[in-house]
Amino acid sequence: MKNFQIIKALSSSSAVASITKDTSVMFIAGGTNLVDLMKKNVVAPDKLIDINALDLKKIEFLNGKVSIGALAKNSQVAEDQSIKEKLPLLALALAAGASQQIRHMATVGGNMLQRTRCPYFYNTDMPCNKRVPKSGCGAIGGTNRMAAVFGTSDSCIAVHPSDMCVALAALDATVLVEGPKGKRQINFTDFHRLPGNTPEKDNTLEIRELITSIEIPDNNFTKNVHYLKVRDRSSYAFALVSVAVALELKNNVISNAKLAMGGVAHKPWRLTETEDFLKGKTASEDIFKQAGKLGMKGARGYGDNDFKLTLGANAITEALTIAASK
């Protein structure tokens, strides 16, 4: 790791003003991902703006929505009694991520900005278009068990590693950001992006923009929800495939459905077609099996990750079954 400066920001506007146009200055919050990346020389900023002193930690229940500050800790949100009651899907997804120690450090905003866990991204001796544009994709033709099956490109098949973001994508959250041009809002499902020819960009955040909070509209997804995470061990492992399901059931008829998947794409993968298919149907084993198949339509394997096509369909079916039975 090279020497770097660290400066404590006292307001979000001063934090934003400290950032230069290149990547030599970066924000740091919990640091659970950034510090790793710096140790491994994947990123090497000259200056870090420590935003932990900013007043962005609150969880507020406002009229028609819940607002969560970007600096709220993952564990703080996951263990908040009102979040557990009103947004149980978010609490479940957060609890499935990382370890308790990491959740105590990691923030909501930082979680959204964590980089892929693709091994080729982390190993600076390997080609990776995301780390070094135009250096090639090591994962295509390489070891790609964790890789994406949706929305891939010839330059990148990495997946976004977050659990929390999968739930937020399903719950129609909005991201609030502040930048030199002022404040703006981004639909959560538009926040992360597909790799295309510019996989170095994970999201649509502009340089010098700071995430200040997320907002989740009120909904009735308080009962029939589930976050199913399929992984190689029972704790502290990234998802091979995960499914966030939120259902509204009336007399076993699905009046509303939200589904998103993790571990399958460069962004949390919302399954709108499957949601439309489910609406108005009576919950049944057969319908959920059909939904699983529909959800994985268009998926493409890259060798080691071919199993995700079957696993993904089965996971959708399983998550729907569990959510409906609650």
């Binding site: 033709g141 061990r233 079957t310």
Partner: protein, 734 residues
């Protein structure tokens, strides 16, 4: 049960409070910080190496490469570098033999400056084609004429082929890494021409010999400290290039140098369990009598050392079978040399053998335990000797009872709990019991303590606790009055800690030295005026008091005896060895692991609902440390069965999961219920305490137990470890 059979770990408090000093933690005035820079290719030559930026970086004291190294004198003497035991000679020349092979040593005044400087070193290479994939390098297969490498035949060669029922199968295990919590580390310094090392070693005496050889100094001049070890699992059985590098750096700067490998280097530079392909051929009569068994293994080694282990050995003796053939070949690949990893050889071999036994049991429609009982070996047919003791049947019985084997059905997939498929499986483990010549010094001090000294290490199994228990038992001292001095050179010579032999070797030496010490003191006491006319046989020694059995008013305290005599009258140093009688017997530990799995076939999820490990290890010296070792070994076996694999991208010859986030080992949540059980019957032959070994059998046989349980649950036979979920679910296109 004796009063010492369940004492607490004597170093437990020091370890959990952080007061135990591990190698890199020694306070060493003037110490400077070093690290190794690794090659970024798997094979070739270093064309140029640019060290200028690093040399000019702040705080840098030295950058050493093959271009400027002052080569240790022993490099020249080691003529044939292909002989085992002569590891890679670091910085010897420009050749690169594996990915991440050290090509430069950077030393700076602080840790941070050292790491930064290291990142500035860049090398250009003349690349050569590398081979890192065992399956594609079969043409390089070679037979090594050693005890381990020679073919073995009993009865008819490949006699299984003539059997009524035949099974032919192939199994693979991937490369697995030791990766103990404590990283490989060293503080190296020179006192004149004498090297002093604080290092992570499983054998102080072995490290001394290696270092003496490399630097051309007398063995007795090498000082090694390795008093606490945060796990090693076999990786500390080798003297590695990083240790030589630190000594080279220290010599150049004439300062103490601290070098701690970073976690990624633990995957590439300090050995691993070798990738191995095994072919099994089993033949039996229709009623389940084994008539032939052939076990062939092909394992990887490095291009510069022939590493071999006892992969096929268990197949020669564990079952009663007239016709047995084993063959073992190695293939040199462009990697670091493998090294023994917990249950070396047998862990790999048992996966193939015990999986194949399970497969054949299904073919014969027999319960797997019943099949094993029908082929129970009443004696060791390989050596044609009786067992010293064997309570394997007791292990089977205990395990069946605890796991609920009666609930198992032979038909796969026929037992369910809710939506979960239930499967039961078992696997047998064994490991030879060895005893090495060991010296221990025992001495009584006037302050009421007993001191036991031996250069042996304690890498975690509880060696110091075992020594305390045996010393306390024999002298009648309280365990808290036993002081252990161990893990450094200059003490009476102990063995390397490995092969499950430490208790047998060191425990026996403690036993013998303490008995001799008590006799010596009793003889001295009997000459005291207080016991005039009392024969020595009428004296007792209890609670530090020597007294007449018939008249306990006649007594002398040990302390007063010590104060009125010379201190050397109260110490004994003794070399203890196995009895000749032991050679007439075949001495093995035995274990059986039982597993109950719950499988969700749609998600491939395998839950370990219950794990039971039963072992015949002779006398159990300490229930707590033994149980701890058995739990840990079993968990290691679970990792082997379900998770562990070093993934290599063979295009580059580089590992891609060389970190703890991607290389998985089990977590608590993976194992829902775990139990261990010991037969705890004394072996009459092995050693004075009647112990056998534990460390290895604790792991051997677990991986096949899991594979067999998964088959019983799902009907899917996984022959390639680890059993990840993608091997369970169907991978059909949607």
């Amino acid at each position: 049960m004796s009063k010492t059979s369940n004492i607490n770990r004597v170093d437990g408090f020091a370890k959990v409070t952080g007061s135990a000093t591990y190698s890199a933690e020694y306070k060493t005035p003037g110490v400077v910080y070093a690290c190794l820079v690794g090659s970024t290719i798997a094979k070739g030559r270093i064309k140029t190496i640019d060290t200028k930026k690093a040399e000019w970086a702040p705080g840098v004291l030295a950058v050493i490469t093959h271009l400027n190294v002052d080569k240790p004198s022993g490099y020249e003497k080691a003529k044939d570098k292909h002989n085992f035991g002569q590891p890679l000679q670091i910085f010897k020349d420009d050749s690169v033999l594996y990915y991440d092979q050290p090509i430069a040593l950077v030393i700076a005044d602080t840790f941070e400056r050292m790491r930064y400087a290291a990142s500035l070193i860049k090398a250009d290479y003349l690349k050569e084609e590398h081979a890192t994939e065992l399956k594609k390098a079969a043409d390089k297969e070679k037979k090594v004429e050693t005890d381990k490498g020679n073919d073995y035949h009993r009865g008819e060669h490949d006699g299984y082929k003539n059997a009524e029922v035949i099974l032919e199968t192939e199994y693979t295990i991937p490369t697995e890494v030791h990766n103990p919590m404590e990283l490989a580390n060293i503080i190296a310094k020179w006192e004149g021409n004498k090297p002093v090392l604080y290092t992570k070693s499983q054998g102080v005496e072995g490290t001394r010999r290696s270092i003496a050889g490399v630097f051309g100094v007398p063995v007795e001049d090498v000082e090694v400290h390795s008093e606490y070890i945060g796990g090693a699992f076999g990786m500390g059985l080798h003297t590695w290039p990083y240790e030589i590098a630190a000594l080279i750096g220290s010599k150049k700067l004439n300062r103490p140098v601290k070098l701690v490998l970073h976690r990624e280097q633990m995957f590439t530079n300090v050995g691993f369990r070798p990738y191995t392909i095994q072919k099994m051929g089993l033949g039996a009569t229709k009623d389940g009598k084994l008539t032939g068994l052939t076990h062939e293994a092909v394992a990887m080694t490095s291009s510069y050392e022939d590493f071999m282990e006892g992969t096929v050995n268990m197949s020669r003796f564990i079952y009663d079978c007239a016709n047995v053939s084993t063959r073992y070949r190695i293939v040199p690949l462009d990697t670091c040399t493998p090294i023994w990893m917990r249950g070396p050889g047998e862990a790999t071999g048992s996966f193939a053998l015990e999986s194949a036994m399970d497969e054949l049991a299904y073919k014969l429609n027999l319960d797997p335990i019943e099949f094993r009982k029908r082929n129970y070996a009443e004696k060791d047919l390989e050596q044609n000797k009786p067992w010293s003791s064997k309570f394997l049947l007791e292990c089977y019985e205990a395990g069946m009872e605890k796991i609920g084997w009666k609930n198992r059905k032979n038909e796969p997939g026929s037992v369910k709990e809710g939506n979960w498929l239930v499967g039961y499986g078992m696997g047998t483990g064994t490991f030879g019991c060895y005893r090495s010549p060991t010296s221990v010094k025992a001495k009584f001090l006037a302050d009421g303590n007993l001191v036991l000294q031996c250069s042996v290490n304690d890498m975690g199994p509880g060696t110091a606790t075992m020594m305390t228990a045996i010393g306390a038992e024999i002298t009648g001292f309280a365990p808290e009055n036993v002081i252990i001095e161990m893990g450094k050179s200059g003490l009476p010579k102990g063995p390397t800690q490995g092969g499950s032999a430490t208790t047998s070797s060191v425990g026996s030496a403690v036993h013998d030295a303490c008995n001799l010490l008590v006799s010596k003191v009793m003889t001295l006491a009997s000459q005291n005026a207080a016991f005039k006319g009392i024969p020595i046989t009428d004296l007792t020694f209890e609670n530090g008091l020597i007294s007449s059995k018939k008249d306990n008013s006649k007594s002398i305290s040990l302390a007063s005896l010590i104060n009125s005599n010379k201190p050397e009258d109260f110490e004994v140093e003794n070399l203890s060895k196995a009895a000749e009688e032991a050679k007439k017997y075949s001495i093995y530990s035995f274990s059986v692991h039982f597993v109950k799995v719950l499988v969700n076939p749609n998600l491939g999820k395998i839950r370990l609902a219950h794990v039971v490990s039963c072992a015949d290890i002779g006398t159990v010296i300490n229930q707590k440390t033994s149980a701890g070792q058995m739990f840990g070994g079993a968990v290691g076996g679970i990792g082997m069965g379900l998770m562990e694999a070093l993934e290599i991208d063979h295009r580059f010859g580089r590992p891609i999961n060389n970190n703890f986030a991607d290389y998985h080992v089990p977590v608590n949540a993976d194992i829902e219920k775990q139990e261990v059980f010991f037969v705890n019957k004394k072996d009459p032959i092995s050693n004075p305490m009647g112990t056998k070994g534990l460390g290895e059998t604790a792991l051997v046989g677990m991986a096949p137990a899991i594979a067999n349980a998964v088959f019983n649950a799902t009907g899917k036979r996984v022959r390639d470890l680890p059993i990840t979920l993608d091997k369970i679910i169907e991978t059909v296109k949607v």
